[in-house]
Amino acid sequence: MSGPRHNDMRTPMRRVRGLGAAHSGTADFWHMRVTSAAGVLLTIALVVIVISLLGRSHAAVVQILGSPIVAVIMLLFIVNSIYHMWIGMQEIILDYVHEDKLKFLSLMANTFFCFAVGLASCFAILKLSFGV
């Protein structure tokens, strides 16, 4: 914020970029807000979709989940939630895990988990949609 100080160890380029120690500035903070705002609408949509599918036969569930509008809403919910929980869990890990090896292992496990669950869910929706 303030101008150059004699004890500032950063190069002028680092100061101008203003990205701090995480190298990504406030991106995570902002993306958390974006995914939360979207999450409000998408969560309501998910609850409505799930309720409307309760007690229906497998064939009916397949047909409805695979129909374009429902499928796109489901994909939006999945992608939004996975990205949101990826950042969120990273925040939790950085708060509580301070030992280096364990920290990086946890961060890696978080990434693997989110990609695996997200990809599997999206794949299922696409398969239902394209009916292969």
Partner: protein, 141 residues
């Protein structure tokens, strides 16, 4: 004061010490803060449930029947009830965060009100969702 003294002696200024969490009287707003984190972590693993549902539907009638069997069991119902409540609580807690981000709700009475609204609202919404859900299934089973 301390600064002046330290300056005079050239010694290091003592760092300020702040009491840790246990020192404070527990308050509803604190509890809501940690519950938001706990529900977030619960939902994180709860997304496995959603993935299972979708994969089972995509895999075929047998896989889907297994999923339905589990969800119809007592444990399945309890897990789903827990997931519903966590989702509703985290949703309302998240809206509370968005209200704060817009700059509202920081007065002591407002903070307390938001905390109470979150807990009461989450229970009410959970009940509402389940009542509608059972209606949609055509009654209790």
């Amino acid at each position: 004061m301390a600064e002046l003294e330290a300056g005079a002696t050239g010694a290091r200024r003592p760092r300020p010490i702040s009491p840790h969490l246990q020192i404070y009287r527990p308050m509803l707003t604190m509890t809501m803060s940690i519950v938001h984190r706990i529900t977030g972590a619960g939902l994180y693993f709860g997304m496995l449930l959603l993935a299972w549902w979708l994969i089972a539907a995509a895999a075929g009638p047998n896989a889907y029947a297994n999923f339905e069997w589990f969800m119809g069991s007592l444990i399945g119902r309890l897990v789903l009830l827990g997931f519903t409540w966590a989702l509703m609580h985290h949703l309302l807690g998240g809206i509370r965060h968005l209200v704060w981000d817009l700059g509202y709700g920081f007065q002591p009475a407002e903070r307390e009100m938001l905390a109470v609204a979150t807990i009461v609202g989450s229970i009410a919404l959970t009940l509402l969702v389940w009542v509608i859900g059972y209606f949609a299934m055509g009654g209790l089973r």
